[in-house]
Amino acid sequence: MDNEPKQSYQSESGNFSDMEDWEKDIAKVLKESKPLSLPPEKMQALLSMLKPMVAERQSPPNINPPIATGRMRLGEFFRLVRNQAYLLELAYWIVIGLMMVSNLALLASNRLQSLFTMLFLILPLVGGISMVYSLRISHDGMGEIEQASTVGLKRIFAARLTLIFGLELLLALPLLIYYGVQSGGLVLARMAVAWLAPTVALSGITLFLFSRWGEWPSVGIPVLVWGSLILFGASRAGFIGFAEMVLARIVFNPLLPLLAVLGLTAGLAFGALGMRRLSSGRYSWS
């Protein structure tokens, strides 16, 4: 009795070959009732909606990507860095752009003192403030989503800081190259270090302050401290001589490498502490 063939596709018209006797009469009657059918436009509309959904499966969306516990590949990391750029406002890019333009203008007009001011006094502060600015975005709400993401907060912050630092470097580079060209490799190296150490130090400290006390202290304190140092130095050297004095120190002072190392270490240490606090599961983002 039960020898219905297991077909995976039957023809449209009624297939009565497997019907029992007691079904046949009523089956015929029932089959005469035609079901409601959906008009062709609606069918077409539904199909048109479905096709793109199918198409996207070509590169399988991979809803369960492999667990990313290991290292991120470099290419992936740089893509993440690039994606962090979406989060920076247009205003920020404009400021960076303006600074770049003014750097080049200063170079072109050969105004050494202003160059110096820009490179060693302003840029490190800009670096610190940029750090806070970029982290603030997460602080304001995206942070929870970032923390819950596959990529994870640590990597996101690393990428963001890489971006900010990259921009800083871009700003500093023309000035450093100019000095290097003017004065030779050794001077360039010293200048680079003299720029890098305060930048890293200020950024790290800012990061740490941000993780403990939030936005305003993290910006206010470094600005205050750095500003005071500059004013102190300037008061000692007299304004005209300040630039020359510091430049001379950079080029000739034997303690520079040591101070730089201290600055770098402090910056990295504080920065790491701050990062750890920010990306741990116990930090409350709201």
Binding site: D25, P35, L47
Partner: protein, 188 residues
């Protein structure tokens, strides 16, 4: 493409083959719409359910179903009942499951009362009669004669033993026969 079995087409669909969805759609969409309509008696709900079913289909990321039709109708059936339940329309009374022996059924039919010859019945009457059936019997009838599933497939979709599916069908047809002939007497 048209001649490929459902399972192959679905496998292709899962890999992003747009033609595969076209063929599967052409094969099943109208028929499924009719199915939803017959179970819910609500054309716009049927439309929603059809859309939902296909969306689930194209987004499916699980294991490839062994028997596509059965799987498809299982989902369709579940969707219908979910919808009916949320509208509070699923019937509360359950039909007594007769543990009929298959041979017994045959016996009755052979020795039973004369079958009244059934005349053509119109759509409206058939639909009304179907509506009066208990849910579990209606779905067997719909799956059998309108969706053209084999009894084995119906048993799998409704998750009952083959014998139960058969007896449900049998009793459903008895009821229908009674309803349809009664109507004719009234007309005549």
């Amino acid at each position: 493409m048209d001649q490929l079995p459902d399972e192959t087409l679905f496998a292709r669909l899962m890999k992003g083959d747009e033609e595969a969805i076209e063929v599967l759609f052409a094969r099943y969409a109208q028929s499924l719409y009719g199915f939803f309509w017959r179970l819910t008696s609500d054309p716009s709900l049927a439309e929603d359910l059809l859309q939902e079913l296909f969306i689930r289909l194209v987004n499916y990321t699980g294991k490839l179903p062994q028997h596509f039709r059965v799987w498809l109708y299982t989902i369709a059936r579940n969707l219908s009942y979910d919808a009916l339940r949320s509208q509070g329309r699923q019937q509360i009374h359950q039909v007594d499951e007769f543990d009929d022996d298959l041979d017994e059924i045959q016996d009755v039919m052979q020795n039973g009362p004369e079958k009244t010859a059934l005349r053509r019945a119109d759509d409206e009457r058939i639909r009304k009669s179907l509506d009066q059936l208990p849910d579990v019997q209606r779905e067997v009838v719909v799956l059998r004669y309108y969706q053209e599933l084999s009894l084995e497939e119906i048993a799998k979709v409704t998750k009952v033993p083959l014998g139960t599916a058969k007896s449900r069908l049998y009793h459903a047809l008895e009821l229908l026969r009674g309803m349809l002939t009664r109507e004719e007497v009234k007309d005549g």
